[in-house]
Subunit: 224 residues, 2 copies
């Protein structure tokens, strides 16, 4: 797939663990993500996380004093990633096309079973409005607010349709992203790239000013 | 909101329970839906369903011999509803607009906590590929196949963009529907009707032939 260098972007990675302490901490978090995605936050015990991380309880407790502190560390990672994504949307170029590219990277990021499964578990907690669910909802609210400001600015610049109901459009964008995380989990045989042209039509149809046919074709020619 | 009678439709209801036996059976299913959406399929016991339905185990077992038979009955209801929805898409009129209307009705149907919560639980089973998950995936596959035939016919008639990648478009439609079920659960203060105009832009942007501006405006004028 050809792609203009201007549109090339990489999904923000968390900083590489610098020290042995940080490496071991990441090892615990990775094990915890796996356990949570398999059995849920509530049913997972510290004992199971120790077994998955191949660490003794004594060793693990040096990194995290409780299951809650592990969940909080995962939430903090999500927050850092989400903030970095919003930053990528701020970079120069056509906002509509950047939304498509950040969306594709988000879908690649959640493709593996542990991350995708954990995402489902977070939704479940959020709908049940537990303390864990509320924590992740706060993060989403921050992302949504940042995204909304971007759309307001883009509307003022005439880059998106002035009639757009921004809150409804944001709901559709977030809903499509989450729905695609689910459906890509259900159909592991489908490559994320397969849906790129239709995803572009969706974002253009939703946000681009009227007479978008030429713009869509141009974007498709650049990156599709 | 004004709406042309031609576009008026009602989400297919299950037949009203005709007999006392059927009424009691429905009472068990309703209780089971509530329990499953709160605690999941695995953690819910027949004892909890009895308590929720205010029935003795002896009485309940006359209707359902096992938890599996309750889950199968719920799956069968979903299958009947899904088939009726596909039928509604077959009725005359603009297919793109019918998709919008059936979509809105589906979202109204999954709005209540029990149905919405149960939907999340079904996704979780589907991603974990359990027997229950596989059962619901089969139903979705049937709906998807019916929907796909409709899109092929509409493409042959020139009603949708001939360049549409039908499988990718179907994935986006199903993903958006499921993502909206989730986000409407998370934001109970938002009315389904609020998102109708943006939903219409999405479906038109995705499927309508190029030069869709006039068609979108006309549809908006009829039903928006």
């Amino acid at each position: 797939m050809s792609e203009s260098p201007r549109l090339k972007m990489e999904f923000p990675s968390l900083p590489a663990p610098a020290t042995a302490h940080e490496q071991r901490r990441q090892q615990v978090l990775e094990a915890a993500r796996l356990c949570f995605s398999r059995s849920g936050f509530h049913s997972t015990s510290m004992h199971q996380i120790c077994a998955e991380a191949q660490m003794s309880p004594g060793a693990l407790y040096r990194y995290f004093p409780s299951k809650d502190s592990i969940i909080e560390a995962i939430a903090e990672e999500e927050r850092v990633l989400a903030t970095a994504c919003t930053q990528q949307l701020l970079e120069p170029g056509c906002l509509v096309e950047r939304i498509v590219q950040v969306g594709l990277e988000y879908l690649r990021h959640t493709r593996d079973r542990a991350t995708g499964g954990l995402t489902l578990e977070i939704w479940s907690e959020s709908v049940r409005n537990t303390a864990v669910g509320q924590r992740f909802c706060e993060i989403e609210e921050t992302v949504r607010a940042g995204f909304r400001r971007l759309l307001v600015d883009a509307r003022d610049r005439g880059e998106i349709n002035p009639d757009t109901d921004l809150d409804a459009a944001l709901m559709l964008i977030f809903a499509l992203a989450d729905g695609l995380v689910l459906h890509l989990q259900l159909r592991p045989e489908i490559a994320v790239e397969t849906i790129e042209p239709e995803l572009r039509k969706f974002v253009h149809g939703l946000l681009a000013p009227r007479q978008p046919a030429a713009a869509v074709t141009a974007a498709g020619g650049r990156a599709g």
